[in-house]
Structures are given as C-alpha cells and as structure tokens.
C-alpha cells in the first residue's frame, strides 16, 4: 500500500507502488497491449466470417441475378377460327398460331428448313401461354391480340450477354442467321426483358426458361408442415416429462444422453432410416412429403426437446412456488404457468429447427424426394414431390446453360426463406422475452 502523504519519501518515480512509476507504466502498457490483441483477434474473426459470407452472397447474386429476368418478344397473335373451335378451345392448334405470329415478322423466310429454325426462337411454352389466354378469353376467336411470350433459352442467353457473339459460328448454339433474326426483332422494338415470374409460378420443366420453383416450394411446404405437426407436440411432451416428472435415476440419464447424441447425428443417417423403415418396412410411397416430413421430424425432435428443456429450466422457481402455494397440482402448475411462460423460447427453438429442416438435402435425396414435378396438379401428401434443396441439386446437375443462373437464383430464394424464418424467430424472442431481474 502506498502512502499518499509522506513528504519525506523519495521521488514518486522510484516508488514501485505509486501510480506513475516507470515499472507501473510498463505494466499498464503490457496490459493495454494484451487487451488490444484480444479485441483485434475478435474483430478479425468476425471480419473473416463476414467476408466469407459476403463472398458467398456476392457470387450467388452475380451468377443468379440474371435468372430473375426473362427475355420476351411482343407478337400479334391472330386466333384463326379454322385452327381453334369454340367448343374445345384447348384442343386448338396453337402451335400453328404462334408460328404464324412469328412468321409475319419475317416475310422473307420461306423455305421449310429456315422456318423450322426460326420457330425455335420462341419458347415451346409460348403456345401454351397463348392457349391458356384464349381459353380464358373465348371472345378472342377470330380476332388478334398482342402479348409478350418468352423466347427460348439460347436467345435468352444471348440477350443477357451470356453467349459471346465473337466465338466462331461452329462453336455457338446460335447461327449467324439466327442472331440476325433476333437482332431484327430487337431493332423493331419487339424485344422486352421483364421480371421472370415463371421462376416462382411454374413447376419444373425440361426447358430452362419455363422451369420454376412452384413445385419445389409446395413440396417443401408440405414436408415442413408434416415435420411441424409431428415434432412439436411430441418434442414438448417429451421435454416436459423429462424435466418435471421423470425420476432422477439411471434410465432417465441414459435417455437424456441419447437425446443429446441424436442431435449430433449426421442427417444422412436419418435418410437411411427413412429408406429402410418407412419405405422398405412400412411400404409408404416413395418421395412423398409425408415420408420426408417424418424423416425431418426425427431430425428436429432432439433440437426441440433440448431447447424446450432449457427454456423450462429457465422459468424462475418463484412462479412454481406461488402456484403450488395456493394449492395447484403439479400438472396445473405446468399447464397454467410454466408452459405459457416457456412458450416464446419453445417457439423460437421450433422455428430455428424448422429452418434447419428446410435446408436439409441428404435425407430427402435418400428417400427419393427428387422427383421431376412438371405440373402443380399432382401436389399432395402422398404424391411424389420435390423440395427446394433437392431441386437445387437437380438443377445444378443439369447440362442446359439456362439452369446455371437458375440454380444460383434458387439458392438465393432458399436463403431468402431461411433469413425470413430466422428473423421471425429473433423477432418473437425479442418481443416476448422477459427479463427476470
């Protein structure tokens, strides 16, 4: 201890206990340096994580942003009454109507071979779009109307600048003549680039310009619904039993250890379980959202159980004592007081668990939830389906150039869903969390 007032003491610098001595200053410097190093280490780690995440997002946006736009051509379609009968519009020859609309722009193209080549400018889906429009507006038979229809994938790539015009003709997908036709349409102002609603409204397709995520989103939604319905009640009930009612003996400890370990099991093992037991032994339909949901529920159960137990433990004992003190029985205490207070934490954990389940690919692949779903009519719990992550997997495998951008776009859509779900979880937690002071 240093004396504050010792007039006869030596100069302050010589006393090692004094605040401003040389030795003290050296110690201070060392401590500050250590603090700084720790802070920079933390900042560096965060910077590295954000940097990597930023690189991922930037590369995804760079490759994928083009998929959100679709090149379309504005044509005038004459609904020839000879080709379309009013009593059965959908059976009409809309292919001819679409081709005719295109050929009127190119009166110089006469040979059959050239006409076939020219017809490939339009997407194969163009005739179905026209057909659906006329079926909804039967009064148009015999009249003309203007509409935007998508172009096929090679021209879409050309317009987006992904196909180089400088390559020699033999290496390109489009001949010089084809590019010339497209440029003529552009000069006439008939080429427009608009938002690619097909990406969200259409189901899967062989043709990249028509392929959409609607089937995958529906499949993922049904799968997550089954997962929620199965894992939420069982998870909470198991956690309440383990926390409140289970006797503290060896068996209970064994169960707890096993549940903790299950949370760490690789997801593909659950896929094998689904394959062997649900598909093989029980004979459930392959690649159905029901089976996918059951497999994902098995994966999410340990997460929900562990999080619910932690939340139940965090409810202060004073609430339980107050309820017990006025004569509530044990199950009344849990149902009326403890569970309602623990609900925000449980819901947060459930949403986070579901967000994890949304992105799981391996178990869904093993149970075959990778079906090619070209139409939304066949969506159901027991019908073959696909999910967002497995759709990304199939598109990434596809050789068509148009699927490259679409894969990145699909990943961005999946990330968007995950961000929304996690943000909802965080918002719920902030809103309902109580600070027990």
């Amino acid at each position: 201890m240093s004396d504050v007032s010792t007039p006869s003491a030596a100069t302050p610098a010589a006393q090692t206990g004094h605040w401003y001595s040389v030795a003290q200053q050296k110690r201070l410097k060392r401590r500050y340096a250590a603090d700084r190093r720790l802070r920079y280490l933390g900042l560096g780690a965060i910077g590295l994580a954000i940097g990597l995440l930023g690189m991922l997002i930037v590369s995804l946006v760079y490759t994928g942003h083009l998929a959100f736009a679709q090149t379309r051509v504005e044509l005038e379609f004459y609904v020839d009454p000879a080709l379309v009968k009013a009593d059965d519009i959908r059976a009409g020859n809309f292919r001819a109507i679409a081709r005719q609309a295109l050929f009127t722009q190119f009166p110089e193209v006469t040979s059959r071979r050239e006409q076939t080549q020219l017809a490939k400018l339009l997407s194969p889906g163009a005739e179905w779009i026209v057909r659906d429009y006329v079926a909804a507006h039967p009064e148009l038979i015999g009249k003309s109307f203007k509409m935007l229809v998508p172009v096929s994938d090679p021209y879409d790539q050309l317009q987006k600048g992904l196909m180089s015009r400088d390559m020699p003709e033999s290496q390109r997908r489009l001949s010089d003549q084809a590019i010339g036709w497209f440029d003529k349409l552009k000069k006439a102002g008939l080429v427009h680039t608009t938002f690619a609603y097909e990406l969200f409204a259409n189901a899967d397709s062989r043709f990249p310009e028509l392929a959409g995520l609607a089937g995958a989103i529906a499949g993922s939604f049904l799968t997550l619904l089954v997962c929620l319905v199965l894992s939420f009640p069982f998870g909470i009930a198991a956690a309440v039993y383990l926390e409140e009612f289970a006797p503290k003996n060896r068996l209970t400890a064994l169960i707890e250890v096993n549940i903790n370990n299950l949370a760490a099991v690789p997801s593909i093992v659950f896929g094998l379980l689904g394959l062997a037991v649900f598909l093989g032994f029980f004979g459930l339909p392959r690649s159905a959202p029901l089976v996918g949901g059951m497999v994902l529920a098995l994966m999410t159960l340990p997460t929900i159980i562990i999080a619910t137990r932690a939340t139940l433990k965090s409810v202060p004992p004073s609430i339980r004592e107050a309820a017990l003190g006025i004569g509530a029985s044990k199950h009344q205490v849990i149902l009326h007081h403890v569970l309602p207070l623990a609900m925000p934490g449980i819901m947060t954990a459930t949403i986070i668990g579901l967000a994890q389940a949304l992105g799981e690919t391996a178990p869904l692949l093993l149970i075959g939830m990778n079906a090619f779903i070209p139409s939304l009519d066949s969506v159901g719990l027991l019908e073959p389906a696909t999910a967002l992550p497995t759709q990304i997997y199939s598109w990434a495998d596809s050789p068509e150039r148009g699927f490259v951008t679409r894969t990145s776009a699909a990943i961005l859509v999946l990330l968007g869903f995950l961000v929304v779900m996690n943000a909802a979880a965080i918002y719920l937690r902030q809103k309902f969390e109580r600070k027990w002071s």
Binding site: S318, I319, R320, A322, G325, G327, Q332, L341
Partner: protein, 157 residues
C-alpha cells in the same frame, strides 16, 4: 439459542392471556420435527404449539430455519429434492404427513405469502381468481367474486 427455551417461552405465552380469553386452543402442533436437506440438518427436534386466532411470529437470525419450519406446515418442502422431514405436525389434530392426505387440498387450506413478491405474470384479476377457480369455487367468474366481499369490487376493476 436452543429450541427448548423457545418452546418453553411459547407455551407460557399460549397458556396465559389467550387461554383466559377462550381463544387459546392449539391449531398447529409440531412435535420433534427434524428437517434434513440431503446430509445437512436444518431443524433439530422442534416442538411448538401454535394457537388459533392469534398471530405467532418466529424471529431469529438469517439461516436459522424459520422458512424451513413454515414450509413444513404446508408441505412445500416436498417439492425440494433431497428434503426429508421427520416428526409429527398436526393441524386441528390431523396429521398432515399422513400418506392418505391430499397435499393439494392441504395447500389450498394453508396459504403462504412469500418473502419476495411473486405474482403470476397475468392480470391482477387472474392472480386473485386463479386460486378459487382451480378449486371449483368460482362458478360465474366476476359475479361470484363480488358476492364474497365488497373489497373485491375494487380489485376487479
């Protein structure tokens, strides 16, 4: 301070003015109560008579076992794992540690107010109505509350 002296003082108080006024009968009787939390003994051989219609205060330094004894009376120590109570405690000559006694009913009869306020995180009405409601005493919520006492009217609003 040993418990025998405590008990002797209490018995003396219970017998004279309260017995003389006819309100000295014993409501809660404790005989040789020992309470253990695991290996640690918290109460050693406590015997005390608590008279009816009187306020009895337990005074002592912190940690001497006051709350422990109080919690024995409505069996709140049952909720603490590892707590063990031996001896006899009777209310109106009924042994409350009798295995056939419903502890929930006991706690409905023997109320407890805690040192730190711990209301339920609900409305005041819910806090007050919860007890009667779970024991089937509140058939038509607000009206039956009002019939018990006019003071409830102020609380309900």
């Amino acid at each position: 301070m040993n418990e025998q002296v405590h008990t002797a003082n209490l018995k003396t108080i219970a017998q004279s003015p309260l017995v003389a006024r006819g309100i000295g009968n014993v409501k809660v009787r404790a005989r040789n109560v020992n309470v253990f939390y695991g290996e640690k003994q918290a109460l050693k051989n406590v015997s005390v008579d608590i008279p009816a219609r009187a306020v009895t205060a337990f005074i002592g330094p912190s940690g001497c076992g006051k709350s422990t004894f109080l919690r024995c009376i409505n069996r709140m120590n049952d909720t603490i794992p590892g707590a063990r109570v031996s001896g006899e405690i009777t209310i109106d000559d009924q042994d409350i540690y009798d295995p056939s006694l419903d502890v929930v009913q006991l706690r409905a009869r023997v109320g407890m107010v805690f040192q730190k306020p711990n209301p339920f995180p609900k409305s005041i009405y819910e806090n007050v109505a919860y007890g009667p409601r779970i024991h089937g005493l509140a058939q038509h919520a607000r009206s039956s509350m009002k019939s018990y006492s006019p003071a409830w009217k102020r609380l309900v609003f």
